[in-house]
């Protein structure tokens, strides 16, 4: 549910919106620019205050809504997010990095020092944390927009809903509901493709991958109350997936968010057990 404070922002003139970037690929901020047709209307209805990707000038805080992209992976970021939280009445994370840690959270299962030594000629200049963690692990988050990248329509819907004072029409149920509503054939049942749709939250804009005859790979992260164990049993017993496949499938963009994390850890243990045997 959106924070109560989103709601009370209305009527005090335009919403002052800011976007902040942490460790990420910029793809989610780019999605805002990809709105193209809606961008002028968005700029007309709101005051986009701090958006380095689109503007050079940075008006001062406080902001009504702060959109945060990216995960926390350096000591500097750890500090900055606290400051930003104080400057934003409502803080909304956008995208998988900010919401679950993102791809870079894969290092949470590995040795970061080793990565640094392999990648950088002068690793001593690299200042980084051992983990990449979601924003909510550091400060209170009012609302999360999922996806890698986010669906720009969701962002528009969130701003529209805030302006109208209504709850955003953003659902937390499975992708399958939207896939069936859109009339797409099921790639899992009809073609045996391991599809994460039944445990993944809807939002990509009408079941994007199944609409292209491909299996969902879970870029919107876990839905409300997913039954990971049951789907996993089916994937491994009927669709030819093994523990390693399962682990890799779950550890993509949202591997570090529960319950994908717990399930992937379980498959990792299983993988190790089977290696030992």
């Amino acid at each position: 549910m959106p924070g109560q404070n989103v709601d009370t922002l209305r009527r005090q003139g335009k919403l002052k919106i800011a976007a902040f970037k942490f460790t990420s690929c910029d793809g989610c901020q780019l999605q805002i620019l990809n709105l193209e047709d809606d961008l002028l209307a968005l700029a007309g209805a709101t005051d986009i205050a701090f958006f380095l990707e689109a503007r050079r000038q940075a008006p001062s805080p406080p902001y009504d809504i702060g959109f945060v992209e990216g995960s926390i992976s350096t000591p500097e970021e750890e500090e900055r997010i606290g400051q930003i939280r104080r400057e934003c009445k409502t803080l909304i994370t956008i995208g998988a990095c900010a919401t679950s840690g993102g791809i870079q959270a894969l290092r949470n299962w590995a040795d970061v020092d080793e990565f640094c030594r392999c990648v950088y000629p002068r690793p001593e200049h690299i200042e980084t944390l051992a983990t990449a963690t979601p924003i909510a692990a550091h400060v209170f988050v009012d609302y999360e927009l999922r996806g890698c990248p986010i669906n720009p329509a969701d962002l528009l819907e969130l701003v529209s809903a805030t302006l109208a004072g209504r709850r955003p029409n953003i659902s937390t149920h499975s992708l399958c509901v939207e896939c069936k509503r859109s009339g797409y054939p099921c790639v899992m049942v009809a073609q045996g493709k391991p599809c994460l749709g039944p445990v993944t939250q809807v939002g990509c804009g009408g079941a994007l991958c199944p609409s292209m005859n491909r299996a969902c790979y879970g870029c919107f992260g876990p839905m409300e109350q997913p039954n990971m164990a049951s789907l996993g049993r089916w994937f491994t017993s009927r669709l030819g997936q093994d523990a390693r496949d399962m682990k890799r499938m779950l550890r993509t963009f949202n591997g570090y968010i529960e319950p994908f994390k717990q399930a992937s850890d379980r498959y990792e243990q299983e993988e190790q057990r089977s290696k030992e045997q």
Binding site: D38, A41, L42, G44, A45, T46, L156, E157, V159, S160, A161, L163, A164, R166, N169, S171, T172, H173, S174, C176, V177, K180, R181, S182, G183, Y184, P185, C186, V187, M188, V189, A190, Q191, C195, G197, P198, V199, N213, M223, E224, Q225, P226, N227, A229, S230, L231, R233, W234, R238
Partner: protein, 390 residues
């Protein structure tokens, strides 16, 4: 019901006559909706020509399993139901209901519902006709006791205009159990024309005046006795070859009697709560109407979506979903279909199409679940509310 001994309503339409039928439907202004193959699945879609029909295609269906296979190359309807059906058009999954803005004294309507097309369903199956009958009851089409505002505008209009050209099932799928409900494999009501496919053509039964008028324009002839007998035989065999079976006589009492049966816990371990069963069910009617607005625009759109009882938002009340567990949601769904539907509409909410079995991603099968409720469980006396409370 027509049988082999009363031929007056039966005609024989040679296979080439299917093209004529299609032409007639189009020239009468119908949008023809029929089966066609989309991504390895037979779906009901708008058809431009009969060449789009899945000729020579058959299907294999099982719990969580659907595959198209080669069938008899001369048959156009050897497969059975796919994931969608007439419901997707009579009760669309997403429908804009209203667009308006707030005026001084009233809500000024900017746009109402889109126009309802005139649909002709070609190749609709008997179980789907049964499902349409169920939804007729749910939506109260022409039901006198209903309040004026309770009729469903789109459904009522679409339903009245729609033409149903049924195809009886001469080969049931592995998940079919219409014979258990008596809703198939042969259509007995609710159609304008009903076809039974033979290699050379179709036995045609007429079910309405509209159907009669169409038959009059088709190149039909009297069927031979052997053609009629063959059609009968095929339908009889289809009834015997149902892939699934459900003992329906006691099923309502069974599910009412023990709400805490341990099987609910077991099936909840498997249920994904993904909502697929509700999305493919031809009788499920739950929906949500939402307001949407665009940035600072004053226009308000009210849109209706298919809703699933497996979502949190379905029963959400201030503190969370009323049915907070998957167990509770599956129990609600299954009981609704097989038990409480009788309380609400005096009929079964299940027509035996088997879609919920085939399209469940993990193959949960109500025809397997029900027998489990017959075994074990708690004693009846322990289970009344009053004894729990006092």
């Amino acid at each position: 019901m027509t049988d082999a001994n009363t031929p007056p309503h039966a005609f024989f339409l040679p296979r080439s006559g299917l093209e004529d039928l299609f032409q007639i439907l189009q020239s009468d202004g119908y949008q023809v909706l029929g089966p066609t193959v989309v991504n390895d699945t037979v779906m009901i879609r708008p058809l431009e020509s009969i060449a789009q029909l899945p000729q020579g295609v058959s299907d294999r269906q099982d719990g969580g399993f659907y595959r198209l296979v080669d069938g008899d190359p001369e048959l156009s309807f050897e497969f059975v139901v796919g994931p969608n059906g007439p419901k997707n058009y009579l009760f669309p999954a997403k429908l804009k209901l209203l667009e308006f803005h707030v005026g001084n004294e009233r809500f000024e309507l900017d746009a109402g519902q889109p126009d309802v097309p005139k649909y002709a369903f070609l190749g609709v199956r008997p179980c789907e006709l049964a499902a349409v009958k169920v939804q007729d009851r749910v939506f109260g089409v022409a039901e006198p006791g209903m309040f004026r505002c309770e009729s469903e505008t789109w459904y009522t209009l679409a339903r009245r205009q729609a033409l149903f050209i049924a195809v009886n099932c001469t080969r049931p799928a592995g998940t079919c159990f219409c014979a258990s409900w008596g809703t198939g494999p042969r259509a007995t009501e609710g159609f304008d024309l009903a076809l039974t496919e033979l290699r050379g053509g179709f036995i045609v039964e007429v079910g309405s005046d509209r159907g009669q008028a169409i038959v009059g324009r088709l190149p039909t002839r009297e069927p031979t006795v052997s053609e009629l007998e063959l059609a009968e035989l095929k339908l009889e065999r289809a009834a015997e070859q149902m892939g699934r079976r459900l003992e329906t006589g006691d099923v309502k009492e069974l599910l009412d009697h023990d709400l805490e049966h341990p099987e609910w816990d077991k099936v909840a371990q498997r249920c994904l709560s993904c909502g697929n069963c509700t999305m493919v069910c031809p009788t499920c009617f739950c929906c949500t109407v939402e307001d949407s607005t665009y940035l600072a625009d004053e226009n308000i759109t009210r849109t209706r979506y298919w809703e699933s009882c497996f979502t949190h938002q379905f029963s959400y009340l201030t503190s969370g979903p009323e049915r907070a567990t998957i167990r509770g949601r599956y129990r609600h769904w299954l009981r609704h279909k097989l038990s409480t539907w009788w309380d609400q509409f005096d009929m079964s909410g299940c027509v035996g199409c088997g879609r919920c079995i085939t399209w469940c991603p993990v193959g949960i099968d109500l025809t397997e679940e029900i027998p489990r409720f017959r075994e074990g469980g708690h004693a009846k006396a322990e289970n009344t509310t009053q004894s729990r409370g006092t």
